[in-house]
């Protein structure tokens, strides 16, 4: 067996160039579950979570680069949480403190589970994934990176180096439904980003389709009907119609966590709740 603990990005890329099918391991919170069940061959592993270039984040103007091995605990707290509040909300709903201390945003992307909690937020923010190999570097929009349930566009020899996303000016929300308030795999989730200077609204759904889904028709209607130059509010009658369009955009399946009907209903509720929090008048918000 070979387990390489890479200390630099170059070292990790070189190891993957030699052994293109090696397993790339960061926090281990998904991979080790499979390994413990005997469902994952761990003969050949490249450990990447000690690579400084993959840890932490940096702001360049209106854009953020978050290293792939930044943990959910780090994303959920501090200055980063105030720059991308929806991503922080999503990171705080992952697992437990123990899981959030290990789980990374790169791991969430690499696993590409339909229920991955950071994915709807990244979809709503039109995030791009920075992919590296020994010979090249490329940037992939999220929807080109996550190509199916647990399937990504990563080629053998490549690893996820970072995710790039914009800092937006306006309210953000992430909400999810599960059986309790901790240790929950999402039954349905929703991310809302309101970009006030850009006068647009982005709504993305998780756990209700094979990949994160953007509710484009709902986004367009909401953006058209917000009083951008006035009070910035979306009327409650329009909210109803937007929520219908959000629910229509979902493509849920029946499985052991929920039914199609329940998931569609849940998405409608999450849409209403997030829109009211972000875009209702003060009186309406106080009445919630």
């Amino acid at each position: 067996m070979t387990a390489t603990i890479a200390r630099t990005l170059d070292e990790a890329c070189a190891a993957l160039a030699d052994r293109p099918h090696a397993v790339v391991l960061a926090g281990g919170t998904d991979l080790m579950v499979e390994a413990n069940r005997g469902g994952r061959d761990m003969e050949d592993v490249v450990v990447v979570d000690r690579i400084p270039e993959l840890r932490g984040w940096a702001q360049h103007g209106g854009s953020l680069r978050i290293g792939a091995c930044t943990t959910c605990a780090e994303i959920g707290d501090g200055e980063l949480a105030s720059l991308v509040p929806a991503l922080a909300q999503a990171a705080r709903t992952v697992g437990s403190p123990q899981i959030r201390n290990a789980a990374t945003i790169g791991g969430n992307l690499g696993t590409a589970s339909p229920a991955g909690d950071t994915l709807p937020v990244l979809a709503a923010l039109d995030a791009e994934v920075e992919v590296r190999s020994a010979s090249a570097s490329r940037m992939l929009p999220l929807h080109d990176f996550v190509i199916g349930p647990k399937a990504t566009a990563l080629e053998p020899g490549e690893l996820i180096a970072a995710v790039h996303l914009p800092v937006t000016d306006g309210p953000q929300e992430f909400l999810k439904v599960g059986v309790r308030n901790a240790m929950v795999i999402s039954v349905a989730s929703l991310a809302l980003v309101v970009d006030r200077p850009g006068r647009n609204v982005r709504i993305a759904l998780g756990s209700v389709g094979p990949v994160p889904i953007r509710a484009v028709e709902a986004e367009v209607l909401a953006a058209e009907r917000i009083d951008w130059s006035g009070n910035g509010i979306l009327d409650s009658e329009v909210v109803e119609r937007v929520c219908e369009l959000v629910a229509d955009a979902a493509r849920p399946i029946d499985d052991h966590r929920g039914t199609i009907a329940y998931r569609r209903h849940a998405v409608d509720v999450l849409a209403r709740r997030s829109l009211r929090r972000a875009l209702a008048s003060e009186e309406e918000r106080n009445g919630l």
């Binding site: 387990a3 281990g28 390994a35 069940r37 437990s96 123990q98 201390n101």
Partner: protein
């Protein structure tokens, strides 16, 4: 085929593990290779928290840590929580769990103690919500958590008063 030797420090003592197999978890190495059976093995998927340890100061589920990835790391287990250097005395959180009657079958106790010790290091006077969040990754099927929450309050109060007296 065995993997490369693994060098790690557990509770301040250096260990060299030569017989770990590929894919073996830190939990397995602690229990089966090093004989430290305090960390418990239950779900093996990070759900129950009974295997909780600190690796380089971070609270994690040792069942989800690849042993080979901990080469050079400092690990603290429940065996290292004791109040004196030999590990023989009880830590304040352990004494509080005993005094509050927070232990029934005891299987979840080591993981909970690790989580509570970390909590009180980070936040000496946590409110109720913070305590509940801090132990949300540790399942107990006996107590109903009431006495565990009382034990955390007791440990926090005692740490606070011992800090005051210094």
């Amino acid at each position: 085929m065995a993997s490369e030797p693994l060098n790690l420090s557990v509770n301040g003592r250096p260990h060299r593990v030569v017989d770990a197999l590929p894919g073996e978890s830190l939990l397995f190495v602690l229990r089966e290779r090093l004989g430290l059976a305090g960390s418990k093995n239950a779900c093996e998927e990070g759900e129950c928290g009974s295997c909780t340890v600190r690796v380089d100061g971070r609270l994690v589920c040792s069942c989800l840590v690849l042993a080979a990835a901990t080469d050079g790391s400092e690990v603290t287990t429940i065996e290292g929580l004791g109040s004196d250097s030999s590990g023989a005395g009880l830590a304040d959180v352990q004494q509080a769990f005993l005094d509050a009657g927070a232990v029934q079958c005891g299987f979840c106790t080591p993981g909970l103690l690790m989580a509570v010790d970390q909590l009180l290091d980070d936040d000496p006077a946590p409110d109720d919500l913070t305590v509940r969040e801090a132990i949300s990754g540790n399942l107990c099927r006996c107590t109903g958590y009431g006495r565990i929450l009382e034990a955390v309050d007791l440990a926090a109060a005692r740490r606070g008063s011992s800090d005051d007296s210094q």
